[in-house]
């Protein structure tokens, strides 16, 4: 057994080295893939819980001081994109998404039927009161209410954030805003509640009262609730933001290296998803194409906007629960070294909470505790994420916010306005930070055209010159043979003479830009095109190689703050 282990370790070591040092076929015929295969059955995966206290401690005292590996995301296809998978589905930024689609999100036509609720179980986690209950149609829902001080806030946040994260590509739980009328609530005879004593005893009317006392009641006596539908499949518990599931054969890429999980740092900053933790995720085992696969969800995204915090927790989104540099600063100055959150002006709506866009800086945003995927974000991940955030038009944002069903139109308008401001701040921070050339195409006539995402969004001046270095590329050996260099002041460049024309030939084009205010744009975007019968097809795009000194993404442990 020990010998086998040693053999495995040896193989592992060889593999790690070989992967970065061996030349060989770089592109396959099916590159770039648009869907990651998940070919093996995960039927043996078993439920596993993750201890919250351990996770918080690990995040605060291990992850917070960990040096980012600056390793390229591991689940990218050859053109630097994230293929669809059981984790993620390309939506906004990849395909057109309408306001109607965003307003609907993942929701089906089957709404909760609130004529009768049968309570099955108490809500065992989270701060907001709630139940698990069956509606009049026998569907099971997780009901969550608003706190009395913040009517409509938590339910609205869950609804709006679910729509935004669905559009961003994540698997989300169907969520609706519904009503619970105490007179129409029944208790399932088998329902039990875990008491402080540890015993489970039958659910009683007093337990309903106990929850109702902590919930915001509408003037008509009903309770507004957020209803999350029970997911299909077998619940396996939360997923970790690092490592892989050892019982899922299709889970190959360490989670901290999954771009869509790293990108939550940008999406989280946008929506102020401060309660970023494993407990707010869920893995389920589902049947797809006759195979059991593990599907990964974000859930309970209601800790967004200003709603993870009460009105006296101004530091949410600005500091981790424990923040060493800030602690030292306040200690040595007796609190006179003010932190930005102590002076930032908030327009406070009870239904929105502390959420602002004027002083927001996505590069210094912090969740309550830093998960590994947060610390591993690189500039190219942030760029990818920022493009998706920027794909939300004002109207799309308003459509998502409208689903929060806020009774105060001013609060709704405020939330949309802040999201728009924060969206722009994200674009301004991340799009110009690295070479922002996107959507390169090579015409059959050898004309290379592309876009500059930073310039197109208005966050940077056009560079004085674009430059392209052209090479023939041998896909079998990985060798490049220079053809020539061209340049242009526009986003269209001609190829030099000598471009191969045979089908199956490859060309490598390194595209850079001269900009005095953005020297990072000189780091070339490396692209590869394959000649097909119909012309040139983009098969390779690498914005930043491994260990590139990413630059734009902040060091998570740095206590960089706005003046």
């Amino acid at each position: 057994m020990r010998r086998q282990l040693a053999f495995l370790l040896l193989l592992t070591g060889i593999g790690a080295v070989a992967a970065v040092s061996t030349a060989g076929r770089k592109f396959y015929d099916d590159d770039p893939i648009t869907r990651a295969p998940e070919s093996r059955s995960a039927a043996d995966a078993k439920p596993l819980d993750i201890d919250l206290f351990y996770e918080y401690s690990y995040n605060l005292f291990v992850n917070a001081s960990r040096t980012p590996s600056n390793t390229r995301a591991g689940n990218l296809n050859t053109i630097d994109e994230v293929p669809d998978s059981s984790w993620f589905t390309n939506r906004i930024g990849t395909v057109p998404v309408t306001a109607e689609q965003i307003a609907r999100g993942v929701n089906s036509d089957t709404l909760p039927s609130p004529e009768k609720w049968t309570l099955l179980r108490e809500k065992s986690s989270g701060t907001n009161p709630g139940f698990t209950a069956k509606d009049a149609n026998g569907q099971i829902w997780f009901l969550q209410f608003d706190a009395p001080e913040f009517p409509e806030a938590s339910t609205g946040a869950v609804e709006v954030a679910t729509k935004l994260f669905w559009a961003l590509g994540y698997n989300m739980v169907e969520t609706f805003i519904t009503r619970v009328e105490p007179a129409r609530v029944e208790i399932d005879p088998k329902a039990t509640v875990r008491r402080p004593s540890g015993a489970r005893t039958p659910f009683t009317r007093d337990d309903i009262d106990r929850v109702a006392e902590r919930a915001a009641r509408s003037p008509d006596g009903t309770f507004r609730a957020s209803a999350g539908r029970l997911l299909p499949g077998k619940v396996l518990g939360p997923f970790r933001y690092q490592g892989t599931r050892s019982d899922d054969p299709n889970d190959l890429v360490p989670h901290e290296r999954r771009r869509e999980l790293r990108a939550l740092r940008v999406f989280g900053a946008w929506t102020n998803l401060v309660d970023w933790k494993a407990a707010n995720t869920l893995d389920t085992l589902v049947e797809e194409n006759g195979r059991s696969i593990v599907k990964h969800y974000l859930q309970d995204v209601g800790s967004t906007f200003g709603m993870a915090n009460n009105l006296h927790e101004w530091d949410m989104g600005w500091e981790h629960y424990y923040d060493g540099p800030a602690t030292k600063r306040r200690f040595f100055s007796y609190g006179f070294a003010l932190s930005p959150w102590q002076t930032v002006p908030y327009t406070e709506y009870p239904s929105i909470g502390l959420f602002e866009g004027e002083r927001f800086d996505p590069t210094t945003w912090k969740p309550q505790t830093p998960v590994a995927a947060y610390t591993e974000l690189r500039a190219d991940d942030a760029f990818w994420a920022a493009r998706r955030v920027m794909a939300f038009t004002d109207d799309l944002i308003r459509a998502a916010v409208h689903t929060g069903a806020y009774s105060d139109a001013a609060a709704e308008a405020h939330l949309a306005a802040v999201l728009i401001k924060r969206r722009d701040a994200i674009g301004r921070a991340y799009l110009p930070a690295i070479n922002p050339i996107v959507n390169p195409t090579l015409g059959v006539n050898g004309q290379l055209t592309f876009e500059n995402a930073a310039v197109a969004s208005g966050f940077a001046e056009a560079p004085t010159m674009y430059r392209a270095a052209w090479s023939r590329f041998d896909n079998a050996t990985g060798a490049s043979t220079p053809i020539g260099r061209t340049e242009s002041a526009t986003t269209s460049l001609s190829a030099p003479s000598g471009l191969p024309v045979t089908t199956g030939a490859f060309v490598e084009v390194d595209i850079s830009a001269d900009s005095a205010s953005h020297p990072t744009w000189q780091q070339p975007l490396r692209t590869h095109f394959r000649r097909t019968a119909g012309g040139w097809k983009l098969v390779g795009l690498e914005r930043l190689p491994d260990q590139a000194g990413a630059g734009a993404a902040p060091t998570p442990t740095a206590s960089k703050e706005r003046p």
């Binding site: 790690a16 770089k26 050859t78 923040d323």
Partner: protein, 404 residues
Amino acid sequence: MKRSAAILVFAIVSQAGAAYAQDAASMQDAASRTELIEQAEQAKAEALKPARAGKAEEYVARISDVFLSGQMHWHAFWQNAYSGGGFTVGAGYQRYVSSYNMIDFRGSITPSGYKRLETEFLAPGLFKRRGTLSVIGGWREATAVNFFGLGQNTQQQSLTNYGFTQPYLHARLEVFPTRKLFVVRGNFELSQWNQGSGSGSSPSVETVYTPATLPGLGASPVYIHTQGMFGFDSRPARGYTRRGGFYGVTVHDYADTDKLYGFNQVDYEAIQHFPILREAWVLAFHAFAQTTYDKGGQTIPFFMMPSFSGGSDLRAFDSWRLRDLNSLLLQGEWRANINRFVEMALFYDAGKVAARRSDLTLDGMKTDFGFGFRFHGPITTPLRIELAKGNEGFVLNFSASQVF
């Protein structure tokens, strides 16, 4: 061989991490990118292991479960038998007797021999979670309680000490009729104060005073003590808060079963916290006055007179440094928050005792100042460390509670 090759693919892909990208592609003789990834999945499928938490996490989870499951029976108990006993060690064993109600057996002891043994029954959810009932039966002993004489101008050198033992049965019902803000509390206590000689290094009190010069010397009254409190409490929590206040009046009736040492007492208390710059700082103020009234010519024994216990009031002075029929305490703190769990504080205390209520003025108060740290949670303060300076020197205080 096939298995080894599969393991190699899995090792490469999982280590390099570039499962879908070009670097790993060249390693295998796969026909497509999809096939390459499927090879890696097959390799992992042949080496699956049950998902499980690491050892450290399992250990932490087990501890968390014990704490959260209601099965954490043993606990530390830091409460002294009486102020001035010094460093206290103690333990308790608690268990639920119903879904929400619990019983707690606990005891503590100090190097100077202060002891406390008691049992508490606690029902925290009465009247639809508006009220809390606590019933405590116990016995305690204090071996060397400071006594410096009566009045504001006693000398530190005039220190004597006394001891007492006290069996007690105490019931307290506290109710927030509207769930928040307004609070009423009723207490009933039956106890016997068996006053005796002190065993401290200073002279025992009876060697310096006589019953004629010190009221109640040698007395061992049995009191039926009832009290009622009405207050306004806007603090989010009593154990730790950065805002809100408390304003309350408590009326006591101490009825001596022998009708010799009965008296009445009225306490007035005001606490207010003013957060500044989003709680970067908190200015906190506390005023507390105790006034006593004799009952038909009965004597108020010296050991029942208002005094200052030390650690949470006049912090730079010995415990029970001042004692008389009436007392006034004024405290101010400038607290600075370091983070969610630690705060610093600069503080100032002023205290006065007087035989007549009309003498409870701001003139001639004993004062001190100091600096300290508080390690706290959202609603509790498990550790408070303070260094206080007064005209009688420095005192370093450790406490397991909020100062006010």
